[in-house]
């Protein structure tokens, strides 16, 4: 595809970067990225990817916009209260950039639908709010060998890592199992600084764009931890775990499973 005059202008600050250029911008416009969650993290990730001109952005979320979301979920507004978040995000992102095709998927991910939903996308972004879905997304990405950019937030702290299945550790190499229900509070219970998902989401969007243009070093095998109160960014190593139940030498997980419902209350 050739860029129109308008597109050349719109993406001029990208195209002028030697690391992006016309070639990189073309890759961006042809990329297909699926975001799980159109909430705190999904909003800034999708917003920046839309601005960058990512051709196809799927937003998976079955929730509707509530007033308590608006402190941080910047794709939604008082005009989209009670509207599906995926539809609300589509309106916002396409208003910013009509080049972008936003596909709202108003479903909850489960072991039956996940592989089918993921299979046509190049990169998956995790911005979900519970452990069972995080492990399900990880397992599906390992099975499909899809890069996964994972972000998580709570109170004043965020974590980011990029998972390149079979070419580095997976989420189960990092945390072998989910905490039991009730031990780790949710944002709803413990709160979250409104701008925190903006910081973590912007880091995730950066990782996605780097993967698309194939430049720089992905945040692979490292967990980046951001502590907003202390203004600390720390990176720790995530070794690939040979004993990993998903991607180790003798994996014990060979099919996708839904976790019991009570986990979802974490």
């Amino acid at each position: 595809m050739d860029f129109t005059e308008e597109q050349l202008k719109r993406y001029s600050r990208h195209i002028i970067l030697p690391e992006v250029g016309g070639k990189g911008q073309k890759k961006i416009s042809e990329a297909k990225v699926l975001l799980v969650g159109a909430g705190g993290l999904g909003c800034p990730v999708g917003y920046y990817l839309a601005a960058a001109g990512v051709g196809t952005i799927a937003m998976v979320d079955d929730d509707k916009v509530e007033l308590s979301n608006l402190q941080r979920q910047i794709a939604h507004s008082v005009k989209t209260l009670d509207v599906h978040k995926a539809d609300s995000a589509k309106q916002t992102f396409e208003a910013l950039n009509p080049d972008v095709n936003v596909i709202p998927i108003k479903e909850r991910l489960n072991s039956k639908n996940i592989l089918d939903l993921f299979k046509d996308y190049d990169i998956i972004v995790d911005g979900t709010d519970n452990f069972p879905t995080r492990y399900l997304i990880n397992d599906a990405c390992v099975m499909l060998k899809k890069p996964l950019v994972s972000g998580a937030i709570l109170r004043f702290e965020g974590q980011v890592t990029t998972i390149m299945p079979h070419d580095g550790p997976c989420y189960r190499c990092l945390f072998e199992e989910a905490p039991p229900a009730g031990l780790v509070p949710s944002c709803q219970e413990a709160g979250v600084l409104g701008v925190l998902p903006g910081v973590i989401g912007a880091l995730q969007a950066t990782e996605v764009l780097k993967l698309i243009i194939g430049k720089g070093t992905p945040l692979k095998g490292r967990l980046l931890i951001y502590d907003a109160l202390g203004v600390n960014f720390r990176k720790v190593k995530i070794p690939k775990n040979d004993e990993c139940a998903m991607c180790g030498k003798n994996p014990t997980i060979t099919e996708l499973k839904d976790s019991p419902e009570e986990y979802c209350s974490i």
């Binding site: 705190g40 452990f131 995080r134 937030i153 990092l174 199992e177 989910a178 998902p197 775990n241």
Partner: protein, 91 residues
């Protein structure tokens, strides 16, 4: 000099809001027991029956202790220990 221990935000309630505390050199499990005396409840959040919990990782400097000697990994004065729990919020 002592061992510096970075406390994650969800556990800072137990350390009177402190994001970094100090402990004694030795094994990881002795460090945790030592911290639990100063900050009751911390040990239980991180370990169970002398073993580290599987959803909390501990790093010495940048290295995950699971890939060293786990609870028995030795830490010395000047080392930086990070306690990193799994968090799942995306909300």
């Amino acid at each position: 000099m002592a061992v510096k221990v970075k406390i994650p935000v969800p556990l800072q309630r137990l350390t009177q809001g402190k994001e970094e505390v100090e402990g004694d050199a030795g094994t990881i499990i002795s460090l945790i027991n030592n911290l639990d005396q100063k900050y009751p409840g911390l040990g239980e959040r991180v370990s169970e029956g002398g073993k580290l919990r599987r959803f909390v990782n501990i790093y010495v400097n940048e290295e995950d202790v699971r890939f060293m000697k786990n609870e028995e990994t030795e830490v010395k004065d000047g080392d930086e220990v990070s306690i990193v729990p799994a968090i799942a919020g995306g909300c």
